[in-house]
Amino acid sequence: MYYLAKMSLEQGLFPLFSFEWAWSNFSDAVSSYHAQFVRSLEYAGLATAIALLISYPLAYWIAFRGGRWKNLFLVLVIAPFFVTYLIRTLAWQTILSDGGIVVTVLKDVHILGSDGRLLATSAAVVAGITYNFLPFMVLPLYVSLEQVDHRLIEAAGDLYANRVVSFFRVTLPLSLPGVFAGVLLTFIPAMGDFINAQLLGTPRQYMIGNVIQSEFLSLREYPTAAALSFILMGGILVLVLIFARALGTDRLTAGAAP
């Protein structure tokens, strides 16, 4: 039964007004919303990269320095995400707002011009996406770093590798499955996100998710919206398959389970 529902879900995407192989939906969708697709790729890619930079040291620290309190730190990482997504994003609205503390400080040190603002810019949207998907990055990284055999690092040290070399030659390669899983789990939802662009940006920051959302729910242009979703899905599926090929499905699974 579950199987059936899932299958019909895949097929439910096709244009439903009347089915006549309207491939023009696809080409129209691509040509009209080319910019939003590219922007989604840029924002999601940037957010994923920043999330990786923030998460890797944190996961490393929890896995290697956490000791008996590892689980406690993990709870701390997940905890903020028990506040509803929207409320978190609204909180970022408050933080980044024009009279808010971040803007004031940045103006004082002249990073931001006196009429500069953060809300309603690309930076705000990317920051929001980075923040909202951070645990999807930290958890797989932690899982793979946790499994690294410390004796291998000691062995590297015994063989005269200094700490930097042993990190890049031993620890980092061993944690790569976690990096891949984390990148995937961050990048995919980030690609489809529309809440951050809507609440922290303006129509000039809108991503493909915003387009799909408005085509579906406001304009009721179902075929276009379905074509857009399908393109998004197809692109992501290709990425997933490449990653799955590179890693093997089982290891991807192990990284995905918290």
Partner: protein, 263 residues
């Protein structure tokens, strides 16, 4: 000396990262005590307990929360039951299409929520099912099953089948073995999966947004409110949910730590 400095660099970095994670939460909690002048709860304008004393004073909020909780409870229940059975089937047997099912389980987890929501909406429109409580429930069960399967399967993979064989050797039939041996052993996994499903359901916005019709859940209420006003009661509810969830998890971790120390 340099090594020690580097060690501290990492410590400081980790603390900063945790601080970054908690900054918005601190804002949410602080502003739940705010006494906003206008309709928007963005600037601090005075401390009050009023919001906490009357958390449901804002019109429509109470109903939205009740809908959210009902859907979360029902979808977690159904998804946990089905998900556990699927996980058992996937781990125990190789059947026609089992590898396909294995892959399909990941489809909802690796699909952007917006595509999930959109495709479900298309499905409901095609089948002429009116959107409302029922469609939200179906959608939530659907995405929750995947998470339940993954969580329960993780527990089953480490399962010692010899225990079941031992029960059978001692004269238990398959049904008795399942209820007296298998189920108690995987119960923690099932419980975790159920709680995860509940949390995911309460938090879900995108998929619900597409399939809700005129029904309003708590995240939908926040979304609607964000366009015209942001009442501090939203922060109160958010904070309350946060405290309950995190309190439970912390208690669990501390308990495990104590147990580990005693053992």
């Amino acid at each position: 000396m340099i090594a020690r400095a580097r060690r501290h660099v990492l410590d400081v970095y980790a603390v900063l990262a945790l601080g970054y994670l908690f900054l918005p939460i601190a804002i949410v909690i602080a502003f739940s005590f705010n006494n906003p002048l206008g309709r928007f709860n963005y600037t601090w304008s005075g401390f009050t307990f009023q919001n906490w004393l009357h958390p449901l004073a804002y019109p429509g909020l109470g109903g939205a929360i009740r809908v959210s909780l009902e859907i979360a409870f029902l979808s977690a229940l159904v998804a946990t039951a089905f998900g556990t059975l699927i996980a058992l089937a996937l781990v125990r047997y190789r059947f026609r299409g089992s590898s396909t099912t294995n892959l399909l389980i990941f489809v909802p987890m690796t699909t952007p929520e917006i595509v999930m929501g959109a495709s479900l909406l298309t499905l409901f429109l095609n089948w002429k099912i009116p959107q409302g409580f029922g469609t939200i429930l179906i959608a939530h069960i659907l995405f929750n099953i995947s998470y339940v399967v993954v969580t329960v399967r993780a527990r089953l993979v480490g399962f010692d089948r010899h225990l079941e064989e031992a029960a059978m050797d001692l004269g238990a039939n398959e049904i008795v073995t399942f209820f007296r041996v298998t189920l108690p052993l995987i119960a923690p996994g099932i419980l975790a999966a159920g709680l995860l499903a509940f949390a995911l359901s309460v938090d879900d916005f995108v998929i619900t947004y597409f399939n809700a019709g005129t029904v309003t859940t708590f995240p939908l209420f926040v979304w609607g409110a964000a366009r015209v006003a942001v009442p501090p009661q939203i922060n109160v509810i958010g904070t309350a949910f946060f405290v309950i969830a995190v309190g439970g998890m912390l208690a669990n971790v501390l308990l495990q730590n104590r147990r580990a120390r005693n053992a």
